[in-house]
Subunit: 421 residues, 2 copies
């Protein structure tokens, strides 16, 4: 008998009918002889509706109370799925994050899981029950207050519970049937991937692949939890995320896929005096506003003027704040102006093969050049190359790279309704 | 500094605007120098909406999961009220029933409070915070599962918290400004009551006065918690429920009010053999179906036939089941037929004064007779007389009794919108 952890996202639970279908799949897994622990997100738009109510009563809602509010969403969906399971003749018990022993830091809205003590979950499993654990939530070790885990929180709950219980697999059900070599809506012959090592999945998730959340993949890698990314609407096998690129032979290590991201914006600080410490001051001001910087470019300074430009990217949602923070130090640093540009996109190539195959960067740049795509910033890791391009050329760039590295399959990928989340 | 417990019902919280108004009243109470603990029901129709969802996924939802589901409603409203309080510059902390130490039996949907251990509530009060406790919910002492308290649960939570914390007063905010000598929609000159002893309030609540729930009054009486029933929409003082009729002098003991109830139905078992044990058998069958019997009438048997009729009342919602249970023993007992009649209403007169004033029953019957109202069943306690009448004559009966016992005031009562809950 295996222990299977299954996680279902909000769109798989958006109505009573969808909940019944999810319950059928859970009961099938149980009847096949497995112990089953299920982690559910809140139904459909519940979280947004609750956030909207919060805004109406307090434009800056206190974080502790916001967590108290939002966690109600997962309690509702988990209880409903438990009821639907019982309607099919199996036994089920739902637990809040706190009841399931999900212990976190006290950073509301962005708590980290410190420990999972699944005593009650194990007890219910031992009694033959399907166990539901409310995703996205936990209880603070210090204050005993209810916390939430931030974006991708339910994926992280599932992985953490799987790790604590030594589960055989953690199945992440979503609206696509796994990870592809590129977004099938942009590249029609994108190929379905059977297996992706953790490091590559981390790079894909960090560069725009939305199928899995970065933190959940990090957690799975740290505890060696095998993830199975599958579709809620199809019985087809999905993509297994497991193993390390270190274990791959040179022959196995390949280029895995192309990811893209439309969520960043480019900020350029023009005419910066090229003195030591000025760049550091600029990045410190942005960091102090709790804004993450992704790509960075510093031009060689013109020998005549002694001035340089510093360019970096941030999330578009942080763009206005980053600019405002920089304007505050304009006189202090003596730069000329801040230019904000959100008509950009980022395309990335990921694959362990580039560690052992020289020439990948050359092929990458040639492919974009041949497609008429100009590179604005380039940024690499051991197993990834990312470039910033015009947003209007992003799809072309994805297709050109996918073609140049011969990633396509023989047939067209199936695109599921709603896979645009 | 006083400790004030305030309870707000769902209609006072049905929108963001209403929540803000409730928050204003809470903050006023805090700023007046009081410690404040607030118990909120779920917003407006939330509970009904959740019940509807439950029905859609499982027509017979498991009780444990139903409690897990329904309690989300109070968590939402309490967190929102906390946010609205903070928007006004005061500090607030919301706690679930479990966090607030509301320990109950494990009877889901109808749990009884065993104990309240308000350590975290007291700690937050000591830090100057307004504390919100989710009404209607607790945690089972035995199973640690989430429970709900059944009808009137939030009133009971408020009273139990007030008792455990030795509060100076427990204010129950509702859509009317207190208890009246009769329903002002039926009797325009019904008089507002300043103070009602516990026993009279118990009789009024048990016979149809909807302003307070029976269990909450029972709890308040047992622990000596003074209740103040007030309107959410008006600053006027409401009705204080406190003290015993035992403490009233003969002069103080009066007739307090007239209540009425349209929720009962009359069941008559005709042609019952008048043998010992037959009546007991009939009532046992009904009790075994967990149906409460209210009023009972056994006619004197006709000497000719040796047959009698047995008549009793039950809640209309249980009527069909009571009849079905009785039909099953028709042949065994040999009675003629079961007649079901829900065109009835009950009118009651309540007041400690009837203990010491002979003639109240006579005046009662004369008043109804003069109004042309026929009495079908009569039933009395030490401080109450109730009769069953035709439903079409119920309003006339209420008015006739109110007039006969001179209960009216000089002015017309104000009827608030929505007071028909």
């Amino acid at each position: 008998m295996a222990l299977v952890v299954q996680k279902y996202g909000g769109s798989s639970l958006e109505s009573a009918d969808r909940i019944k279908r999810v319950a059928e799949r859970i009961v099938e897994t149980r009847k096949a002889g497995n112990d089953v622990v299920v982690v559910c997100s809140a139904m459909g738009d519940t979280t947004d509706e609750l956030l909207d109510l919060a805004q109406q009563v307090n434009p800056a809602p206190p974080e502790r109370e916001l967590d108290m509010l939002l966690t109600a969403g997962e309690r509702i969906s988990n209880a409903l799925v438990a009821m639907a399971i019982e309607a099919l003749g199996a036994e089920a018990r739902s637990f809040s994050g706190s009841q399931a022993g999900v212990i976190t830091t006290s950073a509301h809205q962005n708590a980290r899981i410190i420990d999972v003590t699944p005593g009650r979950v194990q007890e219910a499993l031992d009694q033959g029950q399907v166990v539901l654990v409310a995703g996205f939530q936990g209880v603070s070790q210090d204050t005993k207050d209810i916390t939430t885990l931030g974006r991708g929180g339910s994926d992280t709950t599932a992985v953490a519970v799987a790790a604590a219980m030594n589960a055989d697999v953690c199945e992440i059900y979503t609206d696509v049937d796994g990870v592809y070599t590129a977004d099938p809506r942009i590249v029609p012959n994108a190929r379905h991937l059977e297996r992706v090592p953790y490091e590559e999945m981390l790079e894909l998730a960090a560069t725009g692949a939305k199928v899995l959340h970065l933190r959940a993949v990090e957690y799975a890698r740290r505890y060696g939890v095998a993830l199975h990314v599958r579709s809620s609407y199809s019985p087809k096998p999905g993509t297994i995320v497991s193993g390390s690129v270190e274990d791959l032979s040179v022959e196995q290590a390949m280029i895995t896929g192309v990811s893209h991201d439309r969520s960043e914006a480019k900020v350029t600080v023009r005419g910066v005096p090229d003195n030591p410490g000025v760049a550091g001051r600029i990045f410190r001001v942005v960091a102090d506003a709790e804004i993450d910087i992704d790509m960075v470019l510093q031009n060689v300074s013109s020998t005549d003027s002694g001035l340089t430009d510093i360019t970096f990217t941030v999330a578009r949602s942080n763009g206005a704040e980053a600019v405002a923070e920089l304007e505050k130090i304009k006189d202090e640093l003596g730069f000329e102006q801040v230019v904000y540009d959100d008509r950009v996109g980022k395309v990335s190539l990921v694959g362990a093969g580039m560690r052992s195959h020289p020439g990948v960067t050359a092929t990458f740049c040639e492919a974009l050049s041949n497609a008429g795509v100009n590179i604005e910033i380039i940024n690499t890791s051991e197993i990834r190359i990312s470039v910033l391009v015009r947003d209007t050329q992003l799809d072309d760039a994805v297709r050109a790279l996918h073609e140049a590295f011969d990633l396509g399959g023989d047939e067209e990928a199936v695109v599921y309704a709603g896979s645009g989340r």
